[in-house]
């Protein structure tokens, strides 16, 4: 048995479990929605920013397809609809920024789709601002720092693929009196943000985001599948370690 085969076996099991739980949750709703203080805090910050007329920024990272962390760019796009409630979109204070042209194009399409479901572009032109301040990680940083709303920062959410440069983005937002939330980033990005961002999701908790705050059965099925796979992995690692210790492997 090769490692590639093991990998495909894991993907196959995950697909089957996901489909099975998805069907199961049609009639049963027994899996508890997990509480996350960071996500609650993000919701409060978003509502507070709308009420006070402050800006809200969503940074989708600088790569859609990263080889080291392949799911992060896609994850950022999957989270975007959670920020696009009708109230949030018509208010006009939400801007979505990224350092990757593809991400910006897809984000713009998603935002326009949600906007057109509730409003007519002919009657109301505000919508969501999508922008590409710079096409590389550092030019994105320079662009974000120079365009950050002075003294009007409400809520900033950092998602997707980014590195240690995110510390500068968060510092700019916090310095302008805003709140920062992060669910994404490489290991370096997550560790530097641990230093000054209170509302931070690390590791596998990052992938709780698309289902939050209003979890549907797809999210519940996803979380349960993740938990089952994690359990398999833990058991596999422990058994592997024991077998290695006794000299079987």
């Amino acid at each position: 048995m090769t490692w590639t085969l093991i990998g495909w076996l894991v993907i196959g099991i995950a697909a089957v479990l996901l489909a099975a739980f998805w069907i199961l949750f049609r009639t049963h709703d027994f899996y508890a929605i997990r509480y996350s203080a960071a996500i609650q805090s993000l919701q409060c910050a978003q509502s507070g920013a709308i009420e006070r007329g402050r800006s809200r920024q969503l940074v989708l990272g600088n790569q859609l397809n990263g080889w080291t962390y392949p799911g992060l760019g896609l994850h950022a796009l999957a989270c975007l609809p959670g920020f696009l409630s009708q109230e949030s979109v018509v208010e006009g204070g939400l801007s979505v920024a990224s350092g990757d042209g593809e991400l910006v194009v897809f984000a713009r399409q998603i935002a326009r789709q949600y906007y057109q479901q509730g409003f007519s572009l002919g009657l109301h032109q505000v919508g969501v601002q999508t922008m590409l301040p710079g096409p590389t990680p550092w030019s994105l940083t320079a662009g974000l720092l120079s365009t950050h709303p002075q003294n009007n920062s409400g809520s900033t959410a950092l998602l997707g693929y980014f590195g240690a440069e995110a510390l500068l983005w968060s510092e700019a937002a916090l310095g302008n009196g805003g709140d920062v939330f992060s669910a994404g980033g490489t290991l370096a990005g997550q560790s530097v943000l641990f230093l000054n961002v209170r509302d931070l999701l690390i590791g596998e908790r990052v992938f709780m985001m698309p289902g939050k705050p209003d979890a549907n059965r797809v999210s519940l099925a996803g979380w349960l599948t993740e938990d089952v796979l994690r359990l398999f992995l833990i058991v596999g690692l422990v058994v592997g370690a024991i077998l290695k210790m006794v000299g079987v492997l």
Binding site: G101, L168, L195, V206, F207, G222
Partner: protein, 205 residues
């Protein structure tokens, strides 16, 4: 319902690519065609993204917003780079030196700012997060790693101290692997949810 054809096409393409890893010989021609289309679409999307970059700075310039002068510089440099790249090509040594010498120095200056910010953020850690086990553990492990990376405690392997130091050096790698495994599972589930058409970020959940 109007999105159904798009969902069917995307799911079919996704599953074909996935199946292509198992049946490489049978699906190689279809796979190469799909990958070529994907690269083409990604290239066009990237080009449109660059259009947004120009549009964004042009709008700032037209509205005379704060910092519009920097947008003017960005646009001028963007145009110069584009024209030079098209006429001289990216293989031209002058062009390559010009771009690298500007880009590297600008990035290095931002890296220097990051280093200072990182130091101040480290000093503020307890104020930001309080005296929690996580923050204290983070600080202690960061300090130990810094000291070990200075070369302190470098002894021959086989001794108790040497094994202890080697253990401490391995700990961050172990932690990183744990986080990466969790992220890999999370990424896999997000991908499968989209691939199987269960999660549709573009609407009509």
């Amino acid at each position: 319902m109007k999105k159904l054809p798009a969902i069917i096409v995307s799911v079919a393409i996704g599953l074909t690519v996935l199946a292509g890893y198992f049946f490489q010989a049978e699906l190689s021609t279809v796979l190469s065609l799909i990958v070529d289309w994907g690269i083409l679409l990604a290239g066009v999307a990237g080009l449109i993204g660059l259009g947004y970059l120009a549009q964004y700075h042009l709008t700032r310039l037209m509205k005379r917003e704060k910092g519009a002068f920097f947008s003017l510089i960005t646009l001028l440099v963007f145009l110069f780079t584009l024209v030079a790249g098209l006429t001289l090509t990216t293989q031209n040594p002058f062009y390559r030196n010009l771009i690298l010498n500007v880009q590297v120095s600008v990035e290095a200056s931002l890296l220097a700012v990051l280093a200072v910010t990182l130091m101040f953020a480290s000093l503020k850690l307890i104020r930001t997060r309080g005296w929690t086990p996580m923050s204290v553990g983070f600080l202690i492990s960061a300090l130990i790693s810094l000291v070990l990376n200075l070369g302190v405690g470098m002894t021959e392997s086989g001794t108790v101290l040497g094994e202890l130091v080697a253990f401490w050096r391995r700990l961050p790698i172990v932690g990183a692997r744990g986080i990466l495994l969790g992220m890999a599972i999370g990424g896999l589930i997000v991908g499968l949810r989209i691939l199987l058409g269960m999660h549709r970020p573009y609407g009509e959940e």
